[in-house]
């Protein structure tokens, strides 16, 4: 019996297909036959009918059919199912034998061929039906296929063919349905498919008859003696139904068979047979359920099966057989499940094949354990001879029977001595089974499944089991690899109980392999706080660890295989004697070792003129005190490392010897503090100094040592959670005596900034905000030293603070020279203005001038830098200090200028007229909070305008207070323009002004304002009046109207004077005249005012005949409309009289 004795037979596991034998084909030498055969076997996809074909010789011997008994009365069955039965019906007994014969309908030698064919049919039948005369022979049918060269005519047309066909049928004793024609033409595959469909029908009929035949036995059976037969028959019917592809009925038969099996009387002798058959039938049921896509039925059946069989252990001496069988049940169900999933079934997390593999592995483990208990024979006990497991045929007759008592069905074994020998033989065999291999295979199957169904923890658990199994199988390398892989999962999830158990196994593995580094790593973790081992275990491990560090061989771990321990001990002594490679570095962040470390800077920043202080806290939580030989801190600037180093001075001395360096001994549970101090380099000002790592050396540099490093200066796999818990905890902390620290309260500060020395100078700014646009704004910086020594190389950086709006940089200028106005060439920020040295108490005043071209707020920066010598910790250093002063200034416009064009009558003008004088008016409105002095103003006229008289500034020397307004005007006129109307530039207005300040001398600013453009228009007729500035009542008022023709045409002008109440007048009341080009006419009137006060002059209506669009209204604008009339003098009181 091989280790695979529990495997299900392949004929059980395959999908049964109808068996059809093909004879008369010479597939080796005949190309046509070969092609036909290929067409049958190639491309058997799911859409082809399920038939398994076999080519057999014409005279092939088929299994003999036993004489069927007519009565079961005296028959006692010897077993449930014969081992050969399934194979017989799958591969030996065909449902149909097909004879291929080359014969065309018009064959010249028809007669001869026909009889040859008949003979061949006869041979096949003879081989088959040796008991043909008996009615109980096989029901296998024979069919004949004629291979023909010609394509047959449609049925009924070929009279010769039908006649000869029936003759052939007669000769061969065939029914018409069993004769086929296979034309060997192009469409071979098509014909073959039709043929095989016909074969399939025959096969189905055959299996149908077989089922009926088996069923017919039932009436002869009785329940007392033929229980086994009931099961056998149900199984057979199920199997035939499967061959018939009637899976529904097959399932029904198998289910019945299963029920019947459980009704069998079970006792120790037949337990194995019953379980074997139950397993077979269960397999079939589950398989069909999966095939029918009813996985829940399959699972339910399997559960039922397991529940029923779990307790059927059978012989106690062979208990391992039961667990082996159970394991196999689970495994094969897992396989079935997995196969169904591959075909499209969806499994879920809680119901996947992994569970079955896992359970299979569990039983395999149990089997191993039982085998260990039951097969632990004395070494002298050998395999019994003669071999009780030997059978005459080399195989069993019935499934699940004992080789030494086949066919025996009574309750007690027939020969107790033989029974003993048999059991012994089985036990001896079991002893040689490689259980671990079986277990690991099952576990790895399960791992693959659980990985697929998102069960990481289950996966880890199974991997631990695998690792342990490898450990038992003495494959320590693989064991360690697996355990190491999952360890971190348990560590990060903080399942210390599980981690401890894994670590213990891993420690054993590493001990047995002599792996120093692993040994040390695991020991460190097992001794520490993450382990839940009892104190004495920890103590033992720690002692071993110290031994290893002292380069000695550690004590073996308990419960190890003694042979392996021997090998390990020699391995270790080799390791010890080997020089070199004694340095081991362990990065602790992936472990939770027994030493904890926290390193911190005392402050998040240190000034350059004070020493940087660093504390390192170390704590051990092992059972015994431990001494270390070196503690070093690695900082981001390596140059400081030398100051942060603590080394055992007593080099070379024994590790356990009590040295003066009590300091370097870690007492369990107590926190040690180590202080380091160093002076930072001046180059590091403004830089961060970080703790890269803290290293702690256990052991001796001379011997073997372990270097533990904490990256970032603290923290291992467990500490982040501990810190969190500690921070949450609000328990009142117990007071610790002096020199002792509560570990949990130590906070982490793993980096610090080196910052410059605090400056001892004062920087003051004096100015008068806001600034006015374009002015040279004066800011006075006063720097006073409060240093004790000379401040050297004083430098001032002043101006716009960088990082503001880019436009501000463009529109801000700064200079030291206030006498001249800045322009674009001046920068926004004046860097490093050297101010020399400053004696203690000395003061520097520096005026700066800033010109802001645009309004808005600006942040100005005044940065004073200097260097000073200082002494820190006895070291002289030159410290650079600096002080920043920033100020926000607002810039506002100093004044606003409004300009307008008005006529000489101060009427607002939309447009001006050629050669006619007008006024340009300026209003200067102060917007500055400070008084402004207007120094001067002038207009710079464009060529298109001329001043009528010498324009003089009227605002010169005027001082404007906030929101006061100054105005001035200039009399201008426009020379003629080209074409009637055009827009012309007017020129510029320049105001020179300065801030009127009491404190500082301010410089003058010229502000240039562009005058607006104006529309200039030609006018055809110009009229103006000459009249006195005022009149008197009843005194003649001479008025002269002058009309100028400004065109090149003769103009007809109609003039009329309208009467007025206030005036009498003399002169032409209505006149029509003609004015020559460029000529002028004068009209003389004598007005005689009648009333005093402002009086409306008599209105002049002018009508230009040639220019009807020039209204008299427009022309009238050139004329005064009113005049002031004075009342008459006191001496002449005539007016009163007249009134």
């Amino acid at each position: 019996m091989s280790p695979a004795q529990w495997d299900l037979p392949p004929e059980l596991c395959c999908r049964p297909m109808a068996f059809v034998a093909l004879t008369g084909l010479d597939v080796v030498y005949n190309a046509i036959h070969r092609a036909i055969w290929d067409a049958f076997c190639a491309n058997r996809r799911a859409d082809r009918v399920p038939i398994s074909f076999k080519v057999l010789a014409g005279d092939h011997e088929y299994p003999k059919c036993r004489t069927k008994r007519t009565s079961y009365e005296w028959y006692i069955p010897k077993g449930i199912l014969k081992t050969g039965w399934m194979n017989k019906h799958l591969n030996l007994v065909p449902a149909l034998v097909v004879l291929f014969y080359e014969l065309d309908w018009d064959d010249p030698q028809w007669k001869e061929k026909q009889s040859e064919c008949a003979t061949k049919v006869e041979i096949v039948r003879d081989k088959f039906f040796s008991h043909r005369t008996s009615l109980q022979g096989r029901n296998t049918k024979v069919a004949v296929v004629l291979i023909q060269k010609k394509t047959p005519l449609p049925p009924g047309e070929d009279l010769v063919a039908s006649e000869r066909a029936s003759a052939l049928c007669g000769a061969c004793d065939l029914s018409g349905k069993s004769l086929f024609v296979l034309p060997h033409t192009d469409h071979l595959v098509g014909y073959i498919i039709r043929l095989e469909n016909a074969f399939y029908e025959h096969a189905q009929t055959y299996y149908y008859n077989e089922i009926r035949r088996v069923k017919s036995h039932k009436e002869f059976l009785n329940k007392t003696t033929h229980q086994l037969l009931f099961v056998r028959h149900q199984f057979k019917m199920g199997f035939f139904s499967e061959l018939k592809q009637d899976t529904q009925n097959a399932l029904k038969y198998y289910r019945t068979a299963y029920v019947l099996i459980n009704e069998l009387r079970a006792h120790e002798t037949n337990m194995l047979e019953i379980k074997t058959m139950a397993g077979f039938v269960n397999y079939k049921i589950c398989r069909l359920c999966f095939q029918h896509n009813t996985p829940l039925d399959a699972i339910a059946q399997f559960r039922k099966h397991i529940d029923l069989c779990k307790k059927k252990i059978g012989s106690a001496e062979l208990a391992f057989e039961h667990t082996a069988w159970m394991s196999k049940q689970f495994q094969s169900f897992g396989d079935l499940f997995d196969e169904a999933i591959k075909l499209g079934l969806t499994a879920i997390q809680t119901q996947n094949p992994g569970f079955y593999y896992q359970q299979g592995a569990y039983y395999a483990q149990e089997r191993k354990q039982q085998a260990g208990q039951l097969c632990g024979h004395e070494p002298g006990v050998g395999y019994p001879a003669p071999d009780p497991l030997e059978t005459a045929s080399g195989a069993l007759d019935f499934y699940g029977q004992r080789p030494w008592r086949q066919g025996h069905q009574s309750i007690d074994p027939p020969d107790s001595e033989k029974e003993k020998q048999g059991i012994l033989a089985l036990q001896v065999k079991e002893r040689d089974v490689l259980h671990s291999e079986l277990i690991i295979a099952l576990l790895s199957n399960a791992v693959a499944q659980f990985k697929k169904y998102k069960c990481p923890r289950m996966k880890s658990h199974l991997m631990v089991q695998m690792g342990e199994e490898y450990y038992h199988a003495k494959d320590y390398t693989k064991a360690l690899k697996l355990l190491d892989y999952v360890m971190c999962d348990y560590r990060t999830e903080r399942w210390w109980s599980l981690l401890t158990s894994i670590l213990c196994t891993a420690l054993k593995c590493s001990y047995l392999m002599g792996q120093v580094k692993d040994y040390i790593t695991y020991s460190m973790e097992l001794v520490g706080r993450a382990s839940i081992l009892p104190e004495e275990q920890k103590s033992r491990i720690e002692k071993n660890l110290i031994k290893v560090l002292m380069n000695e061989v550690p004590e073996p771990e308990p419960d190890c295989d003694p042979v392996s321990v021997k090998a390990a001990q020699s391995l270790w002594s080799d390791r010890i004697s080997l020089a070199g490679n004694n340095e081991i570095t362990i990065e602790v962040q992936d472990y939770a070792p027994f030493v904890q470390c926290k390193a911190k800077f005392l402050s998040p920043s240190f000034h350059i003129d004070e020493p940087v202080q660093l504390h390192v806290y170390v704590r051990a939580d092992c059972p015994h005190p431990v001494r270390f030989s070196k503690l070093c801190v690695s900082l981001s600037n390596q140059e400081y490392n030398q100051y942060c180093l603590l080394e055992d001075a007593s080099k070379g001395k024994d590790i356990l010897e009590s040295s003066s360096q009590e300091n370097m001994c870690l007492v369990p549970g107590k926190t040690r503090k180590y202080c380091f101090k160093f002076v930072a380099k001046t180059e590091d000002v403004g830089k961060k100094v970080e703790i890269m790592s803290v290293g702690l050396m256990l052991g001796r540099e001379t011997g073997r040592y372990v270097y533990l490093t904490w990256r970032g200066g603290w923290g291992d796999a467990a500490s982040s959670h501990e810190t969190l818990q500690a921070s949450r905890c609000f328990k009142k902390r117990t007071r610790f005596p002096e020199q002792q620290v509560d570990w949990d309260t130590v906070s982490i500060q793993s980096s610090t900034m080196i910052i410059s020395r605090v400056p001892k100078i004062s920087v003051q700014l004096t100015h008068e905000p806001p600034t006015l646009t374009n002015e040279m704004y004066c800011m006075t910086v006063t720097i006073q030293s409060e240093e004790g020594t000379v401040a050297k190389d004083l430098k001032l950086t002043a101006g716009l603070k960088p990082g503001q709006d880019a436009n501000l940089t463009q529109s801000t200028q700064i200079t030291l020279n206030g006498s001249e106005v800045c322009d674009d060439s001046h920068p926004a920020l004046l860097p490093d203005i050297p101010l020399g040295d400053l004696q203690p108490g000395q003061k520097i005043v520096k005026p700066l001038y800033i010109r802001c071209v645009s309004t808005g707020s600006r942040i100005l920066l005044f940065h004073v830098a200097y260097s000073v010598s200082a002494t820190v910790e006895g070291k002289d250093i030159t410290c650079k200090c600096h002080k920043d002063e920033t100020v926000t200034v607002e810039t506002v416009v100093p004044f606003e200028v409004a300009m307008k064009f008005v006529s000489s009558k101060f009427e607002h003008l939309e447009r001006v007229y050629v050669d006619i004088p007008f006024l340009l008016m300026m209003d200067i409105l102060s917007a500055s909070p400070w008084p402004i002095e207007l120094v001067n103003s002038e207009v710079q006229l464009a060529s298109s305008m001329t001043a009528i008289d010498q324009p003089m500034s009227q605002v010169e020397g005027v001082t404007l207070q906030t929101s006061e307004c100054a105005s001035e005007c200039f009399l201008l006129k426009c020379p003629p323009v080209q074409n009637g109307t055009s827009t012309v530039a007017s020129g510029h207005y320049i105001i020179s002004w300065k801030r009127k300040s009491a404190s500082a001398e301010t410089s003058m600013v010229r502000t240039i304002i562009t005058l607006p453009h104006v529309m200039v228009e030609n006018i055809p007729l110009y009229i103006h009046a000459e009249l006195p500035s005022f009149g008197c009542v009843r005194e003649s008022l001479p008025v002269r109207y002058r009309l100028e023709n400004r065109t090149g045409l003769v103009q007809d002008v109609e003039i009329s004077v309208e009467p007025s109440d206030a005036f009498m007048f003399s002169g032409l009341k209505q006149v029509r005249m003609r004015i020559l080009p460029g000529g002028e006419q004068e009209m003389l009137y004598n007005f005689y005012p009648l009333m005093a006060g402002y009086q409306v002059l008599p209105q002049l209506n002018i009508n230009l005949m040639r220019f009807p669009n020039i209204s008299s209204q427009l022309l009238r604008r050139f004329l005064p409309s009113r005049i002031f009339v004075k009342p008459q003098g006191r001496n002449g009181d005539t007016s009163i009289e007249a009134a």
Binding site: K454, S497, R728
Partner: protein, 139 residues
């Protein structure tokens, strides 16, 4: 009654775990730990169906050959796991539910203790006795 009762923190480490002393303690620890796979999956599933969020009882997590593992998750994602012997067929779902409810009440009392730091292992006598009452009495 239960053979193992465990309280698991939000971060999936054990706060309290107790099993009958007759069988391997380690085995139960593994059983509880592996059951967290299913708990995690169920919790993430609940997130999708907000309506179901009030149901704290997760039901049977997974059946093994010998034990049934039941789960329960509080609103603060603390998990309770009860392992029951498979052979104990008399135990119905309702009884398991009431066991969890009792456990939850007792756990709430533990949390209410001002001297208890959440996240620390539970070391309450009252909680212990509640758990003991639910455990199979080893005789």
């Amino acid at each position: 009654m239960a053979v193992c009762i465990a309280v698991i923190a939000k971060e999936n480490y054990p706060l309290y775990i107790r099993s009958v002393p007759t069988q391997g303690e380690l085995k139960f620890h593994y059983t509880v730990h592996t059951s967290l796979d299913v708990v995690e999956e169920k919790i993430s599933g609940v997130g999708k169906a907000l309506a179901d969020q009030r149901e704290l009882y997760l039901g049977l997590l997974y059946p093994t050959e010998d034990y049934k593992v039941y789960g329960y998750v509080t609103n603060s994602k603390v998990k309770f796991v009860i392992v029951v012997d498979s052979s104990n067929a008399s135990l119905r779902d309702n009884e398991i539910r009431s066991m969890f409810r009792k456990l939850h009440n007792s756990f709430t009392d533990v949390m209410c203790n001002p001297f208890y730091n959440p996240g620390d292992p539970i070391q309450s006598k009252a909680f212990d006795s509640i758990v003991s009452a639910m455990m199979v009495q080893a005789c």
